[in-house]
């Protein structure tokens, strides 16, 4: 079975595209591909360089050949340390010393969710791992079959446990790493969403207002931006960066 992939994103209202702090990456499916890896990450608004950290996470997930989460995170942190030391050197060269109000944020670093999805093409199943409140939804025959890791709109708050660029893999984070898997049938659709859109999506399902039709009909980035604006104005979509990745079996 082969798949179509499409991605959409919009920054928080009032922010520029440069200030968008989510990230996503999608493998290119080739005839010889056995596994496709897709990831989304939501860099937290409190924290410095969250976009950079979110990017590092999704890119490392995509080329992930690491034996475990610990090794994966170590690799991500190594990329982070290199980036940060280059940045600090560049600030010196620019004669822009670190200001007092930046010290705390630079010391505490960045935080992000990560939702990594692997699709095993020959065996027709998926595996997902997540930290935080980015969500995967599996749609079959026009209905929600699987919702991971959150199933209720009320479960979202602004205080998730996230992957830190600075701190070691604590027990708190280890406990927050969740995994799931499922089979894929022909025609299934997998949706990856960051938290604001996920919360809206689940709320619509709870209210028996079908959110699938408009989501599945989305085709272009401009269309998505308009769609999000309408949801913010009319449906109480939380003002946040929004990312959607759609994967449809053919």
């Amino acid at each position: 079975m082969r798949h179509n992939y499409s991605s959409f994103w919009v920054p928080k209202r009032g922010n520029t595209a440069d200030e968008y702090e989510d990230a996503f990456s999608i493998d290119i499916e080739r005839p010889e591909s056995k596994i496709i890896k897709i990831a989304i990450a939501d860099g937290s608004s409190e924290g410095f360089f969250s976009k950079i950290w979110a990017d590092i996470l999704v890119k490392n997930f995509q080329r992930n050949t690491f034996p475990d989460v610990q090794a994966f995170l170590e690799h991500c942190r190594e990329d982070w340390r290199i980036w940060k030391s280059n940045y600090l050197r560049e600030r010196k060269l620019r004669e822009r010393p670190i200001q007092w109000f930046e010290e705390d944020g630079i010391r505490k670093g960045a935080f992000s969710t990560l939702l990594g999805l692997s699709i095993y093409l020959d065996d027709a199943y998926w595996e997902a791992t997540v930290v935080g409140d980015s969500c995967l939804f599996q749609i079959r025959n026009g209905s929600l079959l699987h919702s991971f890791p959150l199933c209720l709109s009320e479960s979202f708050d602004n205080r998730p446990v996230l992957l830190s660029s600075e701190n070691p893999l604590s027990e708190e984070i280890q406990n927050a790493i969740l995994s799931s898997k499922g089979s894929i049938d022909e025609g299934d659709c997998l949706l990856l969403m960051t938290d604001a859109l996920s919360a809206w999506f689940l709320k619509e399902i709870e209210n028996d207002t079908d959110p699938l039709k408009p989501i599945l009909a989305l085709d272009a980035q401009d269309e998505f931006a308009c769609f999000v604006e309408i949801l913010r104005d009319e449906k109480g979509l939380h003002n946040d960066d929004v990312t959607l990745v759609k994967i449809r079996g053919q």
């Binding site: 928080k12 209202r13 009032g14 922010n15 939501d42 937290s44 608004s45 409190e46 924290g47 410095f48 360089f49 822009r96 200001q99 007092w100 109000f101 930046e102 010290e103 705390d104 944020g105 630079i106 010391r107 505490k108 935080f111 708050d157 602004n158 205080r159 998730p160 446990v161 996230l162 830190s164 600075e166 701190n167 070691p168 604590s170 708190e172 984070i173 938290d195 939380h238 003002n239 946040d240």
Partner: protein, 279 residues
């Protein structure tokens, strides 16, 4: 639903601090540290609140203007209290506060090492206000002035998250019953809710500090009871975060502390995702 407006640069909120600079602030602070005077406690409280608020809004290479900030001093005189480039201004974007402390000290601070321990680290500590103690305590005048400033701000930001006013005092107003102008101030509202008036009571009385109480029965004197009764109830989302931060709060807890700081209230502000593992 009230107190749910997004706080963004396009739709900022506001903080107004009222600081008691009266002669009675020369008296010792009652927390057992006899060398510390109440005026030191006020200066420390306002400097730490401003520092934490700026850090809350900081991103790499800048500070985002999520808040407009004012500081009013009341003692021998009453009016805007920022010095230097901000002198005489009623409300300024927080990015201007960030770059205009009067000086920046180096201090040693115990910092979480991320592995359950603490390490000493040199940190920069900005100072905007020095200790001042002079004259009477025209708190009523300051609250009336705050009402005027906030009314103007709300007129130009009618849909914003409501302004927060934090009054730092020893509670002994010399110009009347402060609860009357406090009530008028608290009646101001945006479409998102009423102005929030919080009080920090720094007293010469010793005794346990009290944070965000739901009743005045354990407060030690008439001044603390008055300030408690002037204080707004914490909105729901602040209660939720306060609980997550380990404070014992209930639906009737108020924005009031006795002989304690209120830096924790900065953590209760919601300007986006805050990781629960960010310490």
């Amino acid at each position: 639903m009230t107190y749910s407006a997004d706080i963004s640069r396009a739709n900022p909120s506001s903080f107004l601090f009222l600081i008691d600079q009266s002669g009675s602030m020369e008296d010792p602070f009652g927390s057992g540290d006899s060398n510390k005077r109440k005026k030191d406690g006020v200066a420390d409280a306002i400097n730490r609140l401003l520092q934490n608020l700026v850090i809350k809004c900081a991103k790499q290479e800048g500070v985002r203007d999520y808040y407009h900030i004012g500081v009013v001093g009341y003692g021998a005189t009453m009016g805007p209290a920022f010095g230097g480039a901000l002198s005489g201004k009623e409300l300024v974007p927080i990015s201007e506060v960030a770059v205009n402390p009067t000086r920046v000290e180096e201090r040693t601070k115990n910092i979480d090492d991320g592995a359950g321990g603490l390490v000493d680290q040199q940190v920069k500590f900005p100072i905007w206000f020095e200790p001042v103690a002079n004259g009477g305590t025209p708190m009523c005048q300051a609250l009336t002035y705050a009402e005027k400033v906030m009314k103007g701000w709300i007129d130009s930001h009618p849909e914003s998250f409501p302004p927060i006013i934090i009054n730092i005092t020893d509670g002994e107003a010399t110009d009347g019953d402060a609860s009357i102008p406090a009530r008028q101030l608290s009646q101001l509202a945006t479409t998102d809710g009423n102005v929030l008036l919080f009080n920090i009571h720094l007293s010469s009385r010793s005794g346990a500090s009290v944070e965000y109480p739901a009743t005045d029965v354990h407060l030690p004197d008439e001044f603390s009871k008055l300030l408690f009764n002037m204080s707004s109830v914490l909105p729901d989302h602040m209660q939720t975060i306060a609980q997550q931060e380990g404070f014992s709060v209930s639906p009737t807890s108020r924005g009031f502390v006795f002989n304690a700081d209120m830096v924790s209230v900065i953590k209760f502000l919601d300007i986006g995702t805050r990781p629960s593992n960010l310490r």
